[in-house]
């Protein structure tokens, strides 16, 4: 099998690896680099358990080849905490009991981080739609959504106080009830 040599930066560390040309980034992270925080729940982009950030963009590591990561900056759940200091989302997930089995948790954390980096004041609906690609079978999502909303509220408090935005539910092109 044709092997590809890939140079990347992962969680701030310059990292090189070789992988088969048709190997996913997820397999490369897990099996070549020992970064098993991202999980494979489906391998088809339907569950979000393998969520990572690539050049700041939220993606499923199972839907990207390892070879495509050449020159990319990759962030995984392993890079979220600052040493022993948890990221606020990690702490809130614990405070809100937003995990039961915990296998979807790395994906949710990375996805939620990506949301809050773009929008520090999401509505419940915005949180729910942003996280729709992350499946959780244990919690019914209730405590996860609360943890994300609570983190956002704390992060807003920590930065400069802003008047609350008037938010309208986004209809987009979805047809539901």
């Amino acid at each position: 099998m044709f092997q590809v040599h890939v140079r990347t930066r992962i969680n701030g560390d310059d990292t090189e690896f070789s992988c088969e040309a048709d190997e996913t980034l997820l397999d490369a992270l897990r099996d070549r680099l020992g970064l098993t925080g991202a999980k494979e729940g489906c391998g088809t982009g339907d569950c979000g358990a393998c969520s990572v950030l690539v050049d700041g963009r939220l993606v499923c590591a199972c839907l990207m080849l390892g070879a495509e990561a050449e020159g990319c900056d990759i962030e995984t759940v392993e890079g979220m905490a600052d040493g022993s200091k948890l990221h606020p989302l990690q702490q809130k997930f614990l405070d809100h009991a937003a995990l039961q089995c915990g296998v979807c948790t790395p994906g949710f954390l990375v996805a939620a981080k990506s949301l809050l980096e773009r929008n520090d004041n999401p509505t419940e609906e915005e949180v729910r739609y942003w996280l729709a690609g992350n499946l959780c079978r244990c919690t019914g999502y209730d405590k996860i959504v609360r943890a994300v909303l609570d983190t956002a509220a704390d992060m807003r408090k920590a930065s400069k106080p802003k008047p609350a935005k008037a938010k309208k539910a986004s209809a987009k092109g979805r047809v539901s009830a």
Partner: protein, 750 residues
């Protein structure tokens, strides 16, 4: 043994139990460090993959593995020939993990390879040639019961009939439960409603696929790393299938990414072990999502007839139900539990439930959260709802009027002990949700549900460390925070802070046997054992204090984490903390530990009432869940956050089952939707917040009053949602899932 109710303890104010403490595995799980099934690697490890039948039913004429064996990098190939004689009780499992004469369902394992990489293993699978003779198949439960249906197993003669039939069929067994005379009861009714309901098979849908690493050495000793609900079960089953002494197999439970009953048996684990045995190298196997859906253990599909009679005042005069469940290609569907549980919420004079266990060309069903109960409850609670509507009666009042209560005779036989059904109904009736206004195309439904809950074999070891901390080893995999709840109960009993107890899941070589994490038993049974182990340790701590003080041990009491003289007569001694005594353990007699090995009894049944508002789009048939409230008796909520989590998770799995989840088989008997794209579990944007009300009617069978909470929460939702949708759509729904095409059809729009 049974731990006697400790009423004083139940009424007391707890220091830790009932508090929302941090979970001990929390940091690992939010930082990605927690090691799940697929996260383990071993030196020299090979990758194992399974070749699966593309046919629903086929004779396996020949398997030619010669080409695959020659492929460079392939180290072992196994087929059914590698699974020799075993105990009768394991025969079905042996055949399910590797097909023998016939492939019995789409996805049935036929052969497996171990190779140096996944890509080599994939190539090898393609080089294995299997000659199939395709046979007629049947996947539908009602079709499978017909006299002219293809017979899947010609050695299957229906059990439970007055006379065993002479001809084999797909009907494995008939079950009957009940008491009184239903026909007499129907005559006393003012209104009798009879309906037939259908539900489709669903899957537990755990996010983590089955995964394991098996390593069998040349010395005949093996180790396994497995994501499972019961590593002792994995050990005993694998050892039994491969003829290994139980003591020669050491199994460690990984962190487990959900199970819900689906990981209470084995699939790839014995195969990995067989490959490792043959290759003499560790072998890792991880199922793909497609394999999980095609070839693990989904739940039954069902077809149910219900007839219930009611008086104008709401009294149920009789209930009769016939439940038909297909449980895949082997006997053992959950139909007896469905038949036992379906009428359990009601104290009925005349009741009968008949269950038919049916086989079909589908994967062998495994347990799924209160196995068999949700479908039965769906049918019965739907008819009760319809009776209430027709007779213009309040559905909660009617349920209260007929509800089972302390001492009433259960529909399945024995008398109930102390139960909390009425308390959940009262809580529902008094909740603002019940009175909230509904809009156009919106409806509300309620339903009750019951589950037995188990105790079972449990072993716990508690070690007092030199610094006053405590190591607590339990043998029930932690599937949703049980290390927190069990550790907290031990800390409560010892009178030390919760973070001084470290609770771990010990491997099979380090602890006595434990039944699997199932039957909502872990917080109840392992908790009870942890309390007993703590009491055992306290006894020893008191002995040491007595030695240190030079007084008799019965003059020492344990209070708030300290040994104290029982009375002034015992002399004046400064209380000794657990840490004080632990520091002197070596000098006063050696290590201090507590143990408990029990077959835990007194689990105490559990009831819930669910209330749900939905909105139906009459043009598309789309159902939106607007509001949901769970009322469930937890006995005593040890860790309320995780009790709420069980309530919410069960409700949402029920929402999926009710609305969109289903196994879809095509005419050729192949599964059409083996992926999360088309096996549609609820996503975050589908749902509202799930409100919870924890009702606490203490279980006298547990020292702290605990009842299992894990399973009951999935029993009422199918019915509650169907009742809600029926209210909104103004038409009685009798088929699950209530997917848009099915709803639109029920509405008569297509």
């Amino acid at each position: 043994m049974n731990v006697q109710p400790d009423n004083k303890a139940m009424k007391r104010d707890f220091d830790i139990v009932g508090k929302r403490t941090p979970r001990p595995d929390g940091i690992d799980k939010v930082t990605g460090r927690a090691r799940f099934g697929a996260d383990m690697s071993m030196p020299g490890m090979l990758w194992g993959l399974v070749l699966r039948s593309p046919h629903a039913h086929a004779k396996i004429k020949r398997i030619d593995t010669s080409k695959a064996e020659k492929l460079n990098g392939v180290h072992a190939i196994v087929t059914s020939k590698d699974f020799g004689p075993c105990d009768d009780s394991l025969l079905d499992i042996r055949e399910n993990v590797m097909a023998r004469e016939k492939a019995l369902y789409d996805g049935h394992a036929v052969a497996a390879v171990a190779a140096v990489s996944r890509s080599v293993a994939r190539q090898a699978l393609k080089l294995i040639k299997v000659d199939y003779q395709v046979l007629p198949h049947v996947t539908d439960v009602d079709e499978a019961m017909k006299p002219d249906a293809p017979v899947i197993n010609d050695k299957l003669f229906t059990k439970g009939l007055d006379k065993t039939p002479k001809k084999p069929s797909n009907i494995a067994e008939r079950f009957e439960f009940g008491h009184g005379e239903v026909e007499k009861g129907f005559k006393e009714a003012d209104l009798v409603i009879e309906r037939t309901f259908r539900t489709e098979a669903t899957h537990q849908g755990y996010i983590e696929p089955h995964a394991c690493v098996a390593s069998m050495g040349a010395d005949g000793r093996g180790e396994m790393w497995v994501c499972t609900q019961g590593h002792f079960m994995v050990r005993n089953t694998c050892a039994g299938l491969l003829g290994i002494d139980v003591s020669n197999l050491r199994v460690t439970a990984s962190e487990i990414g959900g199970g819900f009953g689906g990981k209470t048996t084995v699939f790839i684990e014995p195969v990995a072990l067989a490959l490792s045995l043959k290759a003499n190298r560790p072998v890792k196997m991880v199922m793909s999502r497609e394999e999980v859906l095609r070839a693990s253990g989904p739940t039954s599909s069902s077809s149910i007839d219900v007839k219930i009679g009611m008086k104008k005042d709401g009294t149920i005069t009789a209930g009769d139900a016939t439940l038909r469940y297909q449980g895949g290609a082997f006997p053992g569907s959950a139909v007896p539990y469905g038949a036992m549980a379906c009428f359990a919420p009601y104290d009925l004079k005349n009741v009968r439930a008949i269950g038919w266990d049916v086989i079909a060309n589908r994967p062998k069903q495994a347990a799924y959260r209160a196995p068999g109960a949700p479908m039965g409850a769906y049918a019965i609670e739907s008819v009760i709802d319809e009776l209430c509507r027709e007779l213009k009666l309040d559905p909660i009042d009617v349920r209260l009027k007929n509800a089972s209560s302390d001492g009433s005779k259960a529909s399945y036989g024995p008398n109930f002990g102390v139960i909390g059904l009425k308390a959940t109904l009262e809580a529902a009736k008094n909740h603002p949700h019940w009175k909230a206004k509904l809009g156009k195309n919106q409806g509300r439904g309620v339903a009750c549900g019951f589950w037995f809950n188990f105790g079972g074999e449990t072993s716990v070891s508690l070690n007092v460390n030199v610094d006053g901390t405590v190591g607590l080893s339990v043998g029930t995999p932690d599937i949703g925070g049980s290390r927190a709840s069990i550790g907290n109960m031990a800390a409560e009993e010892l009178g030390i802070p919760h973070d001084k107890v470290r609770c771990i899941i010990a491997d099979t070589a380090s602890l006595g046997y434990n039944d699997v994490t199932d039957g909502s038993r872990v917080t109840f049974a392992s908790g009870m054992a942890a309390i007993q182990a703590a009491r055992d340790a306290i006894g020893k701590l008191c002995e040491r204090a007595a030695k240190i003080w030079g007084i008799p041990v019965d003059a020492v009491v344990w209070e708030k984490g300290h040994a104290r003289p029982a009375s002034p007569n015992a002399g004046k001694h400064e209380p000794l903390s657990l840490a004080d005594i632990a520091a002197q353990a070596g000098a006063t007699g050696g290590p201090i530990a507590g143990h408990c090995e029990i077959n835990a009894e007194g689990a105490g049944v559990s009831f819930a009432t669910h209330m749900v508002d939905s909105e139906v789009d009459p043009e598309t048939g789309h159902v939106k869940i607007l509001r949901y409230t769970v009322f469930q008796d937890a006995g005593k909520a040890v860790h309320p956050s995780y009790v709420e989590g069980q309530f919410q998770g069960g409700a949402v799995q029920g929402i999926g089952w009710a609305l969109n989840e289903e196994y879809i088989y095509s005419k050729d008997g192949r599964l059409q939707n083996p992926g999360f794209l088309d096996y549609r579990i609820p996503v975050c944007s589908d749902l509202p917040m799930i409100d919870t009300v924890i009702v606490e009617v203490p279980n006298p069978g547990h020292p702290y009053g605990v009842r299992g909470v894990g399973e009951t929460s999935i029993v009422p939702p199918l019915a509650a949602i169907s009742n809600s949708v029926s209210d909104a759509a103004k038409v009685r729904m009798t088929r699950l899932p209530m997917s848009p095409p099915n709803v639109l059809k029920a509405l008569g729009r297509i």
